[in-house]
């Protein structure tokens, strides 16, 4: 009997040590040397609010800019639904969550929210009814947002047309449907502290940190999560799987991350979703570019780039330096045809028209495959997802779009063409199978 007791105690002890280790994890900018101060005590340009090069005609316009910077609309809008009216599904391993309606509708929206209610929701993840929000709503990151900015977003949201749209019921399995558990989780993993600029870093770096960590919450997709599903900032931006897409490593590591990107390429990618010699944003990243980053001013994008290029490099085991040489113009050269033969027959019929045998599009830079991380990813997750969902990229001189092949092509065909594409245009061949594609389809 005593052995059982001792064993239980030992497990609990080890559990506590792990828990403490996780809870005491570093904050998002702990890696940077230098003292941090409260915003009020920071003498350089204020990293919050709207940038100098944004000509706002009034509070509402500032609120709109900050709402875009915080990218609220993407999560709070269902497919072809009314913006901000909620209902978008988040398929998680333990059930499906639906985003809420944040239009000022009194019954189904946030019409009855006071400023205090709104700040509690954004900073603490506590709804007006006192219920704890699920961390799919990124309040651990939004807790860094200044009160003024949060309330400026609230003012903008309250200027919108109220829309009656009750959010569909969540379908989470036990114990994840227990809201009280979320309160405990928040207590442990939500520092609930506003952003503190680092006096030894430049004002531009601090603006970048505020935009990346507090507003755009890039870490919620790009930073891996620990056992307790909280952001593991020991491996900040080292990459993770989110909503069925692979959010790649965006640390400064030259091989796995974006260390080898030039500042100009990074700024162009963030603001248009593409940079020459690199890939094209699709899926959730495509939405972030379209609805949020492309709407930011040049200074703000430059600030984000400055900050992103200083995060410590973390290598990812399966991501090597990108192979970006064009493949041969001849279908038979470069790759033994027997790699994913089925994939080649799909490629020659439905893909070669835009992507050619070389992987370089004669007229649409967005359609060039060589140089893209997604094609240099042995899991081929994003290649399969973009084949299923398609993509729409808009930039200065027009629009380029890839059709969604998901309805017309089987899981086996999509897996095989993804394997063909990674083998022919990327560094390493992927080995996706039909059932992997089936799983990917259920994510989005």
């Amino acid at each position: 009997m005593r052995i059982v007791a001792w064993a239980a105690a030992a497990i609990v002890a080890v559990g506590c040590v792990i828990l403490i280790y996780l809870v005491l994890g570093p904050g998002p900018t702990d890696y940077a040397r230098g003292k941090r101060v409260a915003i009020a005590d920071y003498r350089e340009r204020n990293p919050t609010g709207v940038p100098a090069d944004f000509k706002a005609s009034g509070d509402l316009q500032r609120g709109e800019y900050l709402t875009k910077a915080a990218d609220c609309v993407v999560c709070h809008t269902s497919k072809e639904g009314v913006p901000f009216a909620g209902g978008r599904a988040f398929v998680l391993p333990f059930g499906t969550l639906y985003s809420t309606n944040i239009t000022p509708d009194l019954e189904t929206g946030i019409g009855k929210y006071s400023d205090r209610n709104f700040l509690d929701a954004v900073h603490k993840g506590i709804g007006r009814d006192g219920a704890a929000l699920y961390p799919a709503m990124p309040y651990p990151s939004y807790s860094l947002m200044s009160d003024a900015d949060a309330l400026s977003i609230k003012a903008y949201l309250f200027s919108l047309q109220p829309v009656r749209a009750p959010a569909p019921a969540n379908t989470l399995i036990f114990p994840f449907n227990q809201r009280v558990l979320m309160r405990i989780w928040a207590a442990m993993f939500n520092p609930d502290k506003r952003f503190e600029p680092n006096v030894e870093q430049s004002a531009e770096w601090n603006r970048g940190a505020y935009l990346v960590d507090a507003m755009e919450h890039c870490g919620e997709c790009h930073t891996p999560r620990n056992l307790a599903f909280a952001l593991n900032n020991r491996k900040k931006f080292a990459g993770a799987i989110q909503a069925g897409w692979r959010a790649f490593n965006i640390t400064a590591d030259p091989a796995s991350g974006i260390g080898a990107w030039s500042k100009e390429d990074l700024a162009r990618y963030l603001s248009t979703g593409h940079a020459t010699g690199h890939g094209t944003a699709a899926g959730p990243m495509g939405e972030a570019v379209d609805e949020s980053i492309s709407q930011l001013t040049g200074d703000d994008v430059a600030a984000m780039v400055t900050y992103l290029r200083t995060t410590p490099g973390v290598a990812t085991a399966d991501l090597h330096a990108i192979q970006d040489k064009p493949a041969s113009d001849h279908h038979g050269e470069g790759l033994a045809a027997d790699v994913a033969r089925e994939g080649k027959s799909v490629y020659e019929g439905s893909c070669m028209g835009c992507h050619e045998w070389s992987g370089v599009s004669p007229g649409m830079p967005f359609a060039t495959l060589t140089g893209s991380r997604a094609v240099n990813d042995p899991t081929a997750t994003n290649v399969a997802q973009v084949v299923i969902d398609g993509a729409i990229r808009r930039d200065g001189d027009g629009l380029a779009s890839m059709p969604a092949f998901g309805n017309g092509y089987s899981n086996a065909e999509i897996a095989s063409v993804a394997n063909y594409v990674t083998a022919r245009f990327g560094g390493t061949a992927s080995h996706l199978e039909a059932r992997d594609v089936e799983k990917l389809r259920q994510q989005d």
Binding site: H331, S345, G349, S350, G353, P362, G363, G398, A400
Partner: protein, 152 residues
């Protein structure tokens, strides 16, 4: 609006329009060269195939602003090339055509193939022609005609 100087079938042509206009529509609606056909607009059918510096490309997804100095060949001018003439003759000899709407695209893809690969195998033909849809189902004679042209 801007003006774009193109070389189409060896002739200099100037087109006044916006940079995003696909070459397909510049050829048809602005230059009145209606041999190149519209079938889908999303590079899935091949009916709009033209040559860009001798390579078969889909003109429905080729913005006029991206062409630069590259030479354009269309069905109206492909007979000037040896491969083009041989393909057109084989098409007539083997009575490939039914409704004919896809055939200018088929011939442009086949002519580019023959120029690059004088003796194409079945795999070469699949690689070059699978992007060209024929709703009338003339594929068997297309394959035979390409081989006949290669042998002529």
């Amino acid at each position: 609006m801007a003006s774009f100087n193109l070389t189409v079938n060896g002739e200099a042509k100037t087109v006044e329009t916006t940079a995003d206009v696909p070459l397909l529509w510049a050829l048809r609606d602005i230059l009145g060269m209606t041999g190149t056909k519209f079938g889908c607009g999303i590079a899935q059918c091949g009916a709009c195939t033209v040559h860009l510096d001798g390579k078969a490309v889909r003109s429905c997804v080729l913005p006029i602003g991206a062409i630069g100095g590259r030479r354009i060949t269309t069905i109206e001018g492909v007979a000037a090339s040896a491969a083009g003439a041989r393909i057109q003759k084989a098409w007539l000899d083997l009575e490939v055509v039914q409704c004919g709407y896809c055939q200018s695209g088929q011939i442009m893809s086949a002519a580019a193939l023959l120029t690059a690969t004088p003796a194409p195998t079945d795999q070469d033909i699949d690689a070059a022609m699978s992007g060209n849809v024929c709703r009338c189902g003339t594929y068997i004679r297309i394959r035979d005609a390409i081989k006949a042209a290669a042998a002529s």
